[in-house]
Subunit: 342 residues, 2 copies
Amino acid sequence: MSGDETTITREAATELGEEVMRLAGFAPDHARAITACVVRAQGDECHSHGLYRLLSCAALAEKGKVDPKATPVVDDRAPAIVRVDARRGISLRSFEAGLPLLCEKAKTAGLAALAINNCYHFSALWPEIEAITDKGLVALAMTVSHAWVAPAGGTRPAFGTNPIAFGWPRPGKHPFVFDFATSAIARGDLELHRRSGTPLPEGVAVDAAGKPTTDPLEAINGAMLTFGGHKGSVLSAMIELLAGPLIGDMTSAQSLAHDDGAGVIPMHGELILAFDPASFLGGTVAESSAQAEGLFDAITGAGARLPSARRYAARRRNADRPMPVRRAVLEDIAALRERLRR
Amino acid sequence: MSGDETTITREAATELGEEVMRLAGFAPDHARAITACVVRAQGDECHSHGLYRLLSCAALAEKGKVDPKATPVVDDRAPAIVRVDARRGISLRSFEAGLPLLCEKAKTAGLAALAINNCYHFSALWPEIEAITDKGLVALAMTVSHAWVAPAGGTRPAFGTNPIAFGWPRPGKHPFVFDFATSAIARGDLELHRRSGTPLPEGVAVDAAGKPTTDPLEAINGAMLTFGGHKGSVLSAMIELLAGPLIGDMTSAQSLAHDDGAGVIPMHGELILAFDPASFLGGTVAESSAQAEGLFDAITGAGARLPSARRYAARRRNADRPMPVRRAVLEDIAALRERLRR
C-alpha cells in the first residue's frame, strides 16, 4: 500500500456513506442503496465507482437536479416487461424496486425486461448484473449517457459512452461478468488525462475539426471515438435505441441537452434483460452449465483471462480485511461531512 | 459491369435455384426457402451470401450432413419463448416456422425469443432481422459458428466468428440494420486471401504459436482474432453462451467437433429476440420513432453512414432490372445442374 492509500472497514465505510448521503438530503432508503453500491465497488477495488462517488452524488443533490427523496413507481407493463419510473431519483432504488418482478417474470415467461426511466445513473452495471445472476438468471444491461462520442466515420458526437454488461451464473463460483463502455476510452479516464495534462492513446478521440488528436482538451471540445471501429459504433447506436426510444427515455443527445451545462451525472433510462435457462431448456440446467464451464476452460486454456478476474481477486483479498481506499478520497468525504453538518 | 459479370432476372434465378436445390435432394419447401434467401442477397449485391451459396448447400446435402427433407418442429416453450427443432435441416424453414409465434409472443409479452436448434446455417442474419422489423418489431439475432477465433490475450481458438445482427423498424424506410462477425475478419475473406496468396491485414490473426501473422495459411493453422480487442472478445463469449448453452445447443468448439473434418457449413443453434415498442411504451410509438430518426440524422449529420446503406443502394438499383452476378458463379451452378441431372 502506498502512502496515498489507507484502509477502511466495510462497517465504517457504510456508516460514513449513509451519514453523508443523508446529510446531502437523500432519503434513508436512497442513502442506504447508494452507500451499499459504492462500498461494494470499493471492496472490489473499483476506485472509480467506489467511495469517491459519494462526492458526485452529493453534488448532484446540491445542484437540485436529482430528487433525493424520490419514490420509484413500479409498473407491471406486460407479461415480460416491468417499467420503473425513478422520478428523477438515483437508479439504484428503482432497480431494487423492480428486481423481484423482473425475476418472477423471467421465470414465468422465460425472459423479461426491466426498463428504468427518468433515473440518474452513476454506478457500474455489474452490481445489477450480479444481483440477477445470483438468482440463477442470465443478465444483459445497457444505458446511454451524454453525447460525447462520434460514430465511426463521423466527426461530431452522436452517442454516449453507452456501457453494456452481461452476466452468466456459475453455481458455486463468481459469475462470468463483463461491463464495458462502447467508447474507446472511459469519460473518467479522459478527465484524468485532462487534469494531468498527459496525452491520450492514439485512436480514441478527434478534435472539433474531426481530426485525430491525443490532446485531452481538444478531445473534450471534439469527440471521443467508439471501440472497435464501425462494429463498436453500430453497437453504440443499438444501445441508444434500446435504452432510449424503445423504453420511452432520452437518447444521449437529449440527456446532454437536459443537463443544460450543469455538468452532473446523466439522467436517462436503463434497459435490463433477464433470461431463465431452465425455461429455455425445459428441465435441468446441469448440462448447459457444464458446457459453459467448458467454454470458460477453453478461454483460460488459450492463455486469456476471464472478464472481472481482477475485480474478483480484489473481492477475495478484501473479504476479511479492511478495504484499501485513497487517503484523499476519505479526506474529501470527511470535509464534505463537516460542511454539510454546519 | 466487368467482363466477369453478367446479369440474371429474379425469375430466372429463382427457377434455377429451386431446380438445383431439388436436384440436390432438398424438399420443395427447403428449395424454395434457400433460393428465396440467396436471390434476395444477390439482389442486394451481397455476393458472398448470394447465388454462390447454392453450391455449398448442394455440397452439404451430398456429404450427407444436412437432412434436406427435415420438417421443423415448433415447441411453444414458454409465454415468451418459441423453440424450433430444425432436425438437422437448413435453418431457413425453421425460422419461417417459428416467426409467426415469435411475433405473436413479442406483441403479447412485450418481448420474446426464438431459439432454433440443430440447424445448418449458411445465410446472413439480416434477412431474418428484416422479416421481424417488417412487423414493426425490434430484432436482435446471433449464432455461433466453428471455433476458429482466439480470445483476446489468448493464442488458441475458443470462439466462432459469432455474428450478431440488430434491426430497428423505420416506417416507410428501410430499417436500421447491422449484421457483423465478431471476428476481426470474415472466414470467407480469410479463405479468399489463402486462395489468392495475398497477405492479411495486420492484427486479425495469430499463427499456431500464437504470434501475430499476416500469412493466411499460418492464420488458418493458428487462430483468427476478435474485433475490438478485449471488448469484442467478451461479446463473442456472450454469443457463445446465449446461442449455445442457454438454448441447449452446441458451442463453436462442439460444432467444429461435430463437423469432424467434413469442412461444411456449421450446424448449431440460433437465438433471435424480438421487442415490441408499443408494449414497452404503452401507447403510440410515434414519439419513439421520431427520437430514433433524430439519432439517425445525428449519425449522418456527423458525416458517418448508416449500416446497410450500401446494401439498400444496391436493392434500389436492382429493383426493376436484372441483378448483377459473377459469370463464374452461374457457370458453376449450371455445371452442377448438369451433373445432378445425370
